[in-house]
């Protein structure tokens, strides 16, 4: 059987159950007297102006992008790290080449000036 994952699955259920239980408890016990002012969007007391779904600058996208690429690359590195001891010395260099290519990407983005917060 898949005991490891069974436990994690069970744990997931429990970990989800506890906060849900807390919320339900609060929902049952708490008063419910909604009114429009109470439900309005909080903006430091000032009237909400315009749509609340504003545009965001593409800078955020770049961070997510760089993160995505690096995330995938580090995922490749984990199996390498695990087997580092069991393979000949030049697999270390393979990993280093891999990291080098990774860092080249970082340098490119850096040089393009996209890591600056503007």
């Amino acid at each position: 059987m898949h005991n490891e994952w069974l436990y994690i699955g069970v744990f997931l259920i429990v970990a989800g159950f506890i906060p849900v239980a807390a919320l339900v408890l609060a929902w049952v016990l708490g008063p419910k007297k909604p009114n429009p002012i109470k439900q309005s969007t909080y903006e430091c007391g000032i009237e909400t102006v315009g749509e609340s779904w504003v545009q965001f600058k593409a800078q955020y996208y770049v961070f997510a992008l760089v993160f995505l690429i690096f995330d995938v690359e580090t995922v490749f590195l984990f199996p390498w790290a695990v087997t580092l001891d069991k393979l000949p010395l030049f697999v270390v260099t393979e990993g280093i080449v891999f990291i080098g290519i990774l860092v080249a990407g970082l340098l490119y983005v850096w040089r393009k000036g996209l890591l600056e917060w503007v």
Binding site: A58, Y61, L65, L68, I69, D71, V72, V75, F76
Partner: protein, 102 residues
């Protein structure tokens, strides 16, 4: 125990749903979502063939990992294209992105 065919049927179904999304959705981002579904279907296949074939042969898992990398690359570039198009043409609807026509 689960027979291999279960995984394969599920994967085929997921692939077809993803294909439908790719072909039918108007929003370009949604098309990419459909492609993700298709890639996941492929990965299910790879992983299950690894498991039900010879588990000492890691080909299936390695290919699945490569598919992850490909998916990441595809999403990165695809979404960048969509954002770029959106900034110029203010649309993400696939049928309005028809510059290739000319």
């Amino acid at each position: 125990m689960i027979p291999l065919s279960w995984y394969l049927v599920l994967s085929a179904l997921l692939f077809s749903i993803g294909l439908f999304g790719v072909l039918a959705r108007r929003n370009a981002v949604a098309i990419l979502l459909g492609i993700e579904l298709m890639l996941n279907a492929v990965n299910i296949n790879l992983a299950s063939f690894w498991r039900y074939g010879n588990p000492a042969q890691m080909g299936g898992q390695v290919f699945a990992i490569v598919v992850f990398a490909v998916a990441a690359a595809e999403v990165a570039v695809g979404l960048a294209l969509i954002i770029s198009i959106y900034r110029r043409r203010k649309t993400v609807l696939a049928e309005e992105i028809d510059l290739m026509k000319w």
